[in-house]
C-alpha cells in the first residue's frame, strides 16, 4: 500500500460536471481528489480486505441473530420497544440485504481492523462504483497507469446481479431519499441505475412526498402504491417518524431491511467482541456503561464482561475511542489516550445517545492524511473498495475521496 502522486486528468472537472457529479468540490475544498492515488497489490486486496470483509459480514449476520433473540440487547442498541417485533420479523422472513460498507483501518501490513459498519445507509456509492472506475479507465487510456493495472471495484456489476437474483424482471422498485441533497441523491441514483440494468422498473420519490392510502399502503408522489422501497434514510430515524406505525401492514418491503438497524449501530461492536473475542479484524469494544469505572479509576467492569475487560484493559487504558451508538460523519466521537481526551469531534449532534468504547487503533498516515478503507458488501460478499482520507484523526464530512488501483 503506497500513496503515489499522479497527473490529474486534465478534463476531470468537466467530466464531473457532465456526469452531474456536482459535489466533486464541497465547502470550497476538493472532495474528489486525484493528484495522488493509493496503490495496493493483489494480495493485500484479496487477503487483507476482500476475504476478511466477507467474513465480517457473515459474523455480523450471526450477531443479528443473537441481538434479535435478546430483548436486553435490543434495548441496549436503542431500538424502541414498539419496533422490536418489526425488526425480528424482517430477520425471520429473511428480507434481503442489498449493500453495506465496512470502514476499516489498514496500513498495508497488519490485519485490517473494523472501525464500524455502515450497513443501512452507506453513501459515496456513485464515487466508488462509477467515478472511480472511470478514473482508472481514463488513466489507463492516458498511459498514466501501466497496462494491466486494475481496481477492486465490481460494485456496479454485483448490484445488477443482486437485483436480478432477488426480483423477477420488470418488478417495480421505488427509491427515496431526502430532497435537495445531491450526495445522497447520487448514491440513490447509482442504485437505481443498477436496478434498471437488471431489468427492473425504477421510480424515484422524495422522502417527504411519500403519502399513505386509505388502505394503509405507502404511495409515491404520483399516488402509485409502493411495494418495494429502497430508502436512503436511517432506520433509527425512520422508526421515530409519524409513519413508522404504518410500516407493519403496509405490504411494502423496505431495503435495506429493518434488521439492518442492529448492524448500523455502534452497539454492534461490543456484541461482536463478546462473540468473537480476539478475532484479528476486530478491536476490543464495550458498552461505555459497563466499563466506565474501570477505565477512569481502579473501579471494576460490569461482572458479565469483567474477565474479557481484564484481557483488554491495558490496551483500552492506553487509548480508546468513545462513540455514540448512532452517529454519522464522525459526529460526537472522542479519542482518549492515557486518561486524557486527545481529540474530539466539533460536531456534537449525537451527544445524547448511549455510547460504546472501542480500543484506539491509529489510522496510518500518508503525506499528512489518514486513509480509511471503505469495503463494499453487496449481498453477502465484499465486491469493491473506496478510500477516503482526512487530515484529522476522526474522519469527518470534509474528508476526501481518493482513487485506488491494483498493480503488482
Amino acid at each position: 500500500m503506497q500513496k503515489i502522486s499522479l497527473p490529474e486528468r486534465p478534463d476531470w472537472r468537466q467530466t464531473a460536471r457532465d456526469a452531474g457529479f456536482t459535489f466533486a468540490d464541497m465547502h470550497g475544498e476538493p472532495y474528489w481528489e486525484e493528484s495522488s492515488a493509493y496503490r495496493f497489490d493483489l494480495r493485500q486486496i484479496e487477503d487483507d480486505i476482500e476475504d476478511p470483509s466477507t467474513e465480517l459480514h457473515a459474523m455480523c449476520r450471526e450477531a443479528v441473530a443473537a441481538i434479535i433473540a435478546s430483548e436486553r440487547l435490543m434495548t441496549r442498541l436503542g431500538i424502541p420497544e414498539a419496533h422490536h417485533d418489526l425488526i425480528a420479523d424482517s430477520w425471520n422472513r429473511a428480507e434481503p440485504e442489498i449493500y453495506g460498507r465496512f470502514d476499516l483501518a489498514y496500513d498495508g501490513k497488519g490485519p485490517a481492523k473494523l472501525l464500524e459498519y455502515n450497513a443501512d445507509t452507506p453513501t459515496s456509492l456513485y464515487e466508488a462504483a462509477a467515478f472511480q472506475w472511470q478514473w482508472l479507465e481514463d488513466q489507463l487510456a492516458n498511459g498514466v497507469l501501466a497496462e494491466g493495472s486494475d481496481q477492486f471495484n465490481g460494485i456496479h456489476e454485483a448490484l445488477v446481479e443482486r437485483f436480478r437474483e432477488l426480483f423477477p424482471k420488470g418488478t417495480d422498485l421505488h427509491f427515496t431519499a431526502a430532497a435537495g441533497n445531491p450526495e445522497d441523491y447520487a448514491t440513490v441514483e447509482a442504485m437505481g441505475w443498477a436496478a434498471r440494468e437488471a431489468g427492473m422498473g425504477a421510480h424515484y420519490c422524495d422522502l417527504d412526498k411519500i403519502g399513505i392510502s386509505a388502505e394503509g399502503q405507502f404511495l409515491d408522489g404520483e399516488d402509485r402504491v409502493m411495494e418495494t422501497l429502497f430508502k436512503l434514510y436511517p432506520w433509527e430515524d425512520l422508526l421515530q417518524d409519524d409513519y413508522a406505525s404504518h410500516i407493519v401492514g403496509s405490504g411494502c418491503m423496505f431495503l435495506e431491511p429493518a434488521w439492518k438497524a442492529v448492524l448500523s449501530n455502534k452497539g454492534l461492536l461490543p456484541v461482536l467482541w463478546q462473540m468473537f473475542e480476539g478475532h484479528p479484524n476486530l478491536l476490543p469494544a464495550y458498552f461505555a456503561d459497563d466499563v466506565a469505572d474501570a477505565l477512569v479509576a481502579s473501579g471494576r467492569a460490569d461482572r458479565a464482561i469483567a474477565d474479557s475487560f481484564d484481557r483488554a484493559a491495558d490496551a483500552m487504558r492506553r487509548g480508546h475511542v468513545v462513540k455514540p451508538i448512532f452517529s454519522r460523519e464522525g459526529a460526537s466521537i472522542s479519542i482518549v489516550e492515557n486518561g486524557e481526551v486527545s481529540e474530539t469531534s466539533p460536531n456534537t449532534d449525537y451527544d445524547h445517545h448511549p455510547r460504546i468504547v472501542q480500543a484506539y487503533h491509529p489510522l496510518p498516515e500518508f503525506d499528512g492524511f489518514r486513509p480509511v478503507i471503505g469495503a463494499w458488501i453487496v449481498g453477502q460478499n465484499c465486491v469493491g473498495m473506496g478510500v477516503r482520507e482526512d487530515r484529522s484523526r476522526i474522519t469527518q464530512d470534509l474528508s476526501r475521496f481518493k482513487p485506488h488501483f491494483i498493480a503488482g
Binding site: 456526469a19 455502515n118 472511470q134 456496479h156 464530512d397
Partner: protein, 194 residues
C-alpha cells in the same frame, strides 16, 4: 482475474430520469431557464429552442402560473413550502383581480420540453418552476424537484402533464400542504451518509 466491473453507469441524470426507467414513458429533451432573457440568449447561440419558442413557452408558463400555481391560505404556509421571500399574494401576481388573502410562490423559472407537436390534450410544453423550501426548485404540482432552474436534460414526458387548476379552489392550509411527509422529520440540509 479482473477485479473491476466491465461497464458502469457514469451519469447522474437527476430525479426525472427515474421516470423513464421502466421504458414505459416517452423521453423529452428539456431545458430550464430562470427567465425569458436567458432562453433568448441561448437561442441566439444555437440552443435547443428558437427565440420564438422561448417566447411562446414563457407565455404558456406564465399562464399556467396564474392558473395552477399552488395556492395557500397564508404567507407563512406558502413560505414554509417555498422559502422566505419567495411568495406573494394572488392580488399581486394575477392581473385581473386576485385575492389579497391567497398566497402563491413567485415564478422562479420555467421548463421547456421539446414536445414536437405533442403539446395539447393534457400536455403543456412549458411548466412554471418555483423555489422549494430546501433551496431547489419544484413544479406547480410539487411532484418533482430540480436542483437548478437552468440546465438541460432528458426527462419523462409526464413532467409535462398539464397541472390541475387551482383557481377558485380552497387554498391549502398547513395541514393540506403537508398531508404527505410522514417520513423524513429528521432530515436536515446535511446528508445522512456515513
Amino acid at each position: 482475474m479482473r477485479k473491476r466491473s466491465r461497464t458502469v453507469a457514469l451519469t447522474i441524470l437527476g430525479a426525472a430520469s427515474f421516470a423513464v426507467a421502466g421504458c414505459r414513458e416517452e423521453q423529452v429533451d428539456a431545458q430550464a431557464f430562470p427567465d425569458l432573457a436567458s432562453c433568448q440568449a441561448e437561442a441566439a447561440n444555437g440552443g435547443l429552442f428558437t427565440a420564438e419558442e422561448c417566447e411562446a413557452a414563457f407565455a404558456e408558463a406564465e399562464a399556467l402560473h396564474v392558473e395552477a400555481a399552488p395556492r395557500y391560505e397564508s404567507l407563512e404556509v406558502c413560505e414554509e413550502q417555498h422559502g422566505q421571500g419567495n411568495c406573494g399574494s394572488e392580488a399581486e401576481q394575477v392581473s385581473n383581480g386576485g385575492s389579497g388573502s391567497i398566497f402563491m410562490p413567485l415564478l422562479a423559472g420555467y421548463l421547456i420540453g421539446n414536445m414536437l407537436g405533442r403539446a395539447g390534450g393534457g400536455m403543456a410544453a412549458a411548466q412554471p418552476m418555483y423555489r422549494n423550501a430546501s433551496g431547489g426548485f419544484t413544479n406547480a404540482a410539487r411532484t418533482s424537484s430540480f436542483s437548478s432552474n437552468s440546465g438541460r436534460g432528458t426527462m419523462g414526458a409526464q413532467q409535462f402533464t398539464r397541472p390541475a387548476s387551482t383557481v377558485g379552489k380552497a387554498p391549502m392550509s398547513r395541514a393540506t400542504a403537508t398531508s404527505r411527509g410522514g417520513f423524513g422529520s429528521r432530515t436536515g440540509s446535511r446528508g445522512i451518509g456515513g
